[in-house]
């Protein structure tokens, strides 16, 4: 067994692998730069989480809001902005097919989107960041079972 957070992250990686534009270029918690051969690609990180204790009786229930960062990376001479929006359609629709993330979560919401561009390289590049909040709960003495 593993932390529910890992199960949610695994679910998102599986959900986003094989999309039309990014295909198998999906990287979990990647730390190395992305070369052109890995584009267009997606990276997935679970960077932060907030928790609230909802009961007083032990073991208490923890209501958690996990922030998942999904980033899209593309390169193109002129259509990089359209590539980003095509990927956005695919990511948003894929995530919405099961907002319980395989039964580990109560809800999944995309709460923000940001795009950035650069012409510093041989071909223009762009990245987009989807901030996704996943709400789930566990008992304080068992982080491996969602409840």
């Amino acid at each position: 067994m593993s932390h529910v957070r890992k199960s949610i992250r695994d679910n998102i990686v599986t959900t986003l692998t094989g999309l039309s534009t990014t295909g198998s270029n999906v990287y979990r918690s990647r730390v190395y730069p992305l070369a052109a051969s890995k584009l267009p690609g997606l990276t997935i990180y679970t960077k932060s989480e907030e928790a609230e204790y909802s009961t007083n009786i032990r073991p208490r229930t923890l209501f958690r809001t996990l922030t998942v960062i999904i980033e899209a990376y593309v390169q193109g001479l002129s259509d990089y902005d359209s590539q980003i929006d095509t990927i956005a359609v695919e990511v948003e629709e894929a995530l919405s097919t099961d907002v319980t993330r395989g039964g580990y979560a109560k809800d999944t919401q995309i709460v923000s989107f940001d795009a950035e561009y650069s012409g510093e390289g041989d071909i223009p590049v762009a990245s987009a960041t989807f901030t996704v909040q996943v709400v789930y709960s566990t008992k304080e003495n068992d982080s491996e079972i969602a409840g």
């Binding site: 070369a35 584009l39 390169q75 650069s118 510093e120 390289g121 071909i123 762009a126 990245s127």
Partner: protein, 101 residues
């Protein structure tokens, strides 16, 4: 103020430069000599990861590309580029940021 002459600059480029075919939209093409840099660099757009991509630059005498405009074509070692940014250094040399086609 430049301390070297146009001939000095030409000598430098003869030693370290490569031939490029400069093809401006406004006139016919010609061969110019310049220093070509195309190293891999980490480019960050603000996301978590850097892009590992090449960063092509061409450095030549300003007089050889007088009237150069963004969007003009440059071919170096068989690879076609568009000139995207023109950066004259004020001493008779010009650096150009290139986009691979």
């Amino acid at each position: 103020m430049a301390v070297e002459t146009a001939a000095d600059r030409a000598l430098l480029l003869n030693d370290f430069g490569v031939d490029a075919i400069y093809d401006p939209a406004s006139s016919s093409h010609k061969t110019v000599k310049g220093v070509f840099d195309n190293e891999y660099e980490a480019v960050n757009t603000g996301a978590t990861l850097d892009f590992a991509i090449t960063r092509p630059r061409f450095y030549c005498r300003s007089a050889d590309v007088s009237g150069v405009a963004e969007g003009d074509d440059l071919e170096i070692e068989g690879v076609a580029y568009k000139i995207r940014v023109i950066m004259p250094d004020g001493t008779g040399m010009t650096e150009m940021m290139l986009e691979k086609q």
